[in-house]
């Protein structure tokens, strides 16, 4: 088990969408999507609400089966969820009856990590997201920003090869959101995991992404590389204008 965790830490997952159509029931949300996500990159999908950003993410996670086409993870078709593809949800995805520590330990427990290794691993992730000392609190005792920190720790604790983030900071106020973005940049520096991040906020996309996918009403529009990714001093006004135009 520990060997598997170690290799996971080394390589990100290559994700590919081949002619994927998605929808709920009879209603099609997106048709014929093609997308390649390179191992270890941070790909941000930007789109207005209702454009189907979260739906794409759910398909990659394996929570939603495509109506047509295939989702491939490292060349293997996705048929269901896997601990290799961890997900961070917008809000309230922590199990409210488990303390912070036990929430973070849960993916390790599901992966079969022995009890005595789980505790220290969870504790170090809790500290990593700046919540040292909060391990015994319940989610209801935490603010929204703190709960998202815990979710981040929980998703990364089992060393997934891809992290799928569904507007994780969407419900936070501007100041907390800024702090969380800085924390995420900081944490991502130490992991090789591929990140697919969904947001409606263009500035958030530009701050985090290697590449930005613009999702308009008609599906995937442009895929735009970000010059000098994750370096705050770069001027991206031109790219920003292009994205807004695409939307």
């Amino acid at each position: 088990m520990t060997a598997a965790v170690a290799t996971a830490r080394e390589t990100g997952l290559a994700i590919r969408l081949e002619g994927v159509s998605l929808g709920y029931g009879r209603h099609a949300v997106l048709e014929d999507l093609h997308l390649d996500v390179a191992p270890g990159e941070v790909l941000v999908i930007v789109g207005p609400s209702g454009s189907g950003k979260s739906t794409i993410l759910r398909a990659v996670a394996g929570l939603l089966t495509p109506r047509a086409g295939r989702v491939l993870a490292q060349g293997v078709p996705v048929t269901g969820p896997s601990p290799d593809r961890a997900m961070v949800f917008q809000d309230d995805a922590l199990l409210p009856w488990r303390t912070v520590r036990r929430n973070v330990e849960l993916p390790l427990r599901i992966r079969g990590v022995p009890r005595r290794e789980r505790g220290p691993a969870a504790e170090s992730w809790i500290a990593r997201v700046g919540l040292a000392g909060w391990g015994d609190r319940l989610p209801r005792e935490l603010s929204g920003g703190m709960r998202q920190r815990v979710q981040l720790a929980r998703s990364l604790a089992a060393a997934p090869r891809a992290v799928l983030m569904d507007e994780p900071f969407g419900a936070l106020d501007a100041q907390t959101r800024g702090e969380m973005q800085r924390l995420l940049l900081d944490v991502l520096r130490d992991t090789a995991a591929t990140v697919v991040f969904v947001t409606h906020d263009v500035d958030e996309a530009l701050l985090l992404a290697d590449r930005v996918v613009v999702l308009g009403r008609g599906g995937i529009g442009r895929v735009l590389p970000v010059p000098g990714p994750r370096t705050p001093e770069t001027d991206r006004a031109g790219l920003r204008a292009r994205i807004i135009e695409e939307l």
Binding site: A61, G62, L63, G80, P81, S82, P83, D84, R85, A86, M87, F89, D92, A93, L94, L95, P96, W97, R98, L106, P107, I110, R111, L138, P139, R140, E141, L142, S143, G144, G145, M146, R147, A158, L164, L172, D173, Q175, T176
Partner: protein, 335 residues
């Protein structure tokens, strides 16, 4: 128009927290020093007052009963032949010195706890099963729905035919009474569970077993406990009735026996014993339920938190997904 709302509502909640028992002490400046502790101190005083009211309510009822019976009130209703609380107390003291009373209590408790325990296990298991599996629902629900409206006590003839001993029959009746509210509440609670938690566990690689153990069972506890409370109530009604019909020991049997020999004080001792036992068991379930669902946001704590959390941070916990369902499921089950 909407921007000033948070500040205004915050002010409203904090003044609401200060409001109960706002003695004319100092002024608005003083409570600002240690708001948390002040609120808690008041909460305990308020708690004591509530207990005093509850106790007082019982005392008033008993006093009224004593007056009605000793004054031999006959005004439409006739209280002249009803035993007074004093007579009942005397009879109780007499019974407490003998061994039979304790034997009856023990027998009734064994019956109800056995039936109730079986009903809890079966009710929770089947409730989860029919809520999670369409196939199980199609197979199991039709017979369950047909049997459910039959009052458990009406199953006595069946119990007599099917079970070799009276004892088993009484436990069966108790089981049948408690089973339906528990099953129905569990089923509702499972169906009302937000899918987000299940999705979260599945994206960690969790299978059905993990979802069941880490999401469904803990997440439905508030609703399940609603069913357990209702189930315990009807289980008492049915165990006593069943004991009155068949049985050699038990509070119900003893009460009925006292009635047949026109010993009214003993009848009332039996009734009071049932009342106290029923209340004790229900209170135990309530207490256990509260301990196991500590994670639920509760109204009073929420008010306190709102008053302390800064305005900018809107992350204060808002909902208890299972909490509302608890009442709803129980209501349906009891109909």
């Amino acid at each position: 128009m909407s921007t000033p709302a948070p500040a205004a509502s915050l002010a409203a909640t904090s003044s609401a927290v200060e409001a109960p028992g706002s003695e004319p002490l100092a002024s608005g400046a003083v409570p600002a020093v240690r708001p948390g502790r002040r609120v808690r101190g008041r909460a305990t005083t308020a708690g004591l007052r509530r207990w005093a009211v509850r106790l007082g309510s019982l005392v008033v009822v008993v006093a009224l009963w004593q007056w009605l019976t000793t004054a031999d009130v006959r005004a439409g209703l006739r209280f002249d032949r009803l035993p007074s609380p004093a007579e009942v107390a005397a009879e109780l003291t007499r019974q407490l010195t003998g061994g039979l009373y304790y034997l009856d209590l023990a027998q009734s408790m064994i019956r109800i706890l056995t039936g109730f325990a079986l009903a809890s296990v079966a009710g929770i298991a089947l409730g989860v099963l029919v809520a999670r599996s369409r196939w199980a629902a199609d197979v199991l629900l039709p017979p369950i729905e047909v049997v459910r409206p039959i009052p458990a006590i009406a199953l006595v003839p069946i119990a007599i035919l099917v079970f070799p001993t009276d004892e088993q029959g009484i436990v069966f009746i108790t089981f049948a009474a408690a089973f339906f509210p528990i099953m129905v509440s569990t089923r509702h609670a499972v169906r009302a569970l937000p899918t987000l938690w299940e999705d979260a566990v599945r994206t960690m690689g969790g299978g059905r077993r993990h979802v069941l153990w880490h999401v469904v069972l803990p997440g439905t506890l508030p609703g399940v406990f609603g069913g357990l409370s209702v189930g315990m109530g009807v289980a008492w009604i049915c165990v006593i009735s069943a004991e009155m019909i068949s049985g050699e020991f038990g509070v119900g049997y003893r009460t009925w026996h006292a009635y047949t020999v026109v010993d009214y004080p003993a009848v009332l001792v039996g009734m009071a014993s049932i009342g106290v036992l029923g209340w004790l068991t229900s209170a135990s379930i309530e207490l256990l339920g509260r301990r196991l669902t500590r994670w639920l946001p509760r109204a009073e704590e929420r008010a306190e938190e709102r008053a302390v959390v800064p305005v900018g941070d809107r992350g204060a916990p808002e909902r208890g997904p299972g909490g509302r369902e608890a009442g709803q499921g129980a209501e349906e089950a009891v109909r």
